[in-house]
């Protein structure tokens, strides 16, 4: 298999994720898009691991998955709290502080 098949898939996923986090107004959707980026990373890691015949790639990927879970948890908590205080999670409206 071509390494680049996977890498480019990752790259595409990364770019799509970036697009997502930049344009989605709903906080939860942004979190989802982040997951896309992280998965892109994971694809890279696994693919490279396979390339170099080392399990380090997989270990790294596992760590990433774990951290991703934690991050999502925290992220959702924050979004939730936000929703409690202003009953909306539209990121465009969150600009009380600027300048």
């Amino acid at each position: 298999m071509l390494l680049n098949e996977f890498l480019l898939l990752g790259a595409a996923l990364f770019a799509i994720g970036v697009y997502g986090v930049l344009v989605r107004r709903n906080g939860v959707m942004v979190l989802m898009s982040i997951e896309l980026i992280l998965n892109a990373v994971n694809i890279n890691l696994i693919a490279f691991g396979a390339l170099h015949h080392t399990v380090v790639g997989q270990v790294f990927a596992l760590f990433v998955i774990t951290i991703a879970a934690a991050e999502v948890g925290v992220g959702l908590a924050i979004v939730l709290m936000l929703y409690r205080n202003r009953s909306s999670i539209d990121l465009d409206q969150i600009d009380a502080m600027r300048g």
Partner: protein, 169 residues
């Protein structure tokens, strides 16, 4: 002969997986329905998991399915419900800022693609890419012991913090 067959098979499977992933991802960031987005995300994550297995990292692939599909997406759905995002069709999930998104995302894609192709033009991944899960655990507990321990603390912290933040007063 067999080799060739497996190669073909691999290519075909990869093609399918890639298609699912890309399409799913695009839908995730474009659909105007929150729940659909979550479901499309499931597709993407499963696809990625599949590609892991294709690369011979079964353990990680399985973990991926379990954690993401099993846990994280559920979390998302909870989040969606708790934040009362309208379940039905909704028009303005994507802000007016989508051109900005493109302006940033496309160059990224370009740069990444250029460098990747430039670097690994036609490198092949050997066919036998399978590694024993035991190796994974060994490396984890031999070389990455400390990060592993730290992650446990981190998860605890995330847990407690999340509870504090999310709980009602």
């Amino acid at each position: 002969m067999i080799l060739g067959a497996t190669m073909v098979a691999q290519h075909i499977t990869f093609g399918i997986i890639a298609a699912i992933v890309i399409v799913g991802a695009l839908r995730v960031v474009t659909t105007n329905n929150v729940v659909h987005a979550a479901l499309w995300l499931v597709a993407v994550l499963s696809g990625v998991g599949g590609s892991f297995i294709l690369l011979g990292a079964e353990f990680v692939g399985v973990t991926q399915i379990l954690i993401y599909v099993g846990a994280i997406v559920v979390l998302f759905l909870f989040g969606i419900m708790l934040t009362r995002a309208p379940i039905g069709r909704e028009v303005n999930l994507t802000g007016s800022s989508w051109p900005m998104g493109l302006v940033v995302a496309i160059p990224i894609a370009g740069v990444l693609a250029y460098t990747l192709i430039d670097a690994f033009g036609t490198d092949h991944i050997g066919n036998d890419t399978r590694q024993l899960t035991a190796q994974v655990s060994d490396t984890l507990f031999q070389n990455y012991l400390i990060p592993f321990e730290v992650v446990s603390v981190l998860l605890l912290a995330a847990l407690i913090g999340a509870i504090v933040l999310a709980r009602k007063e």
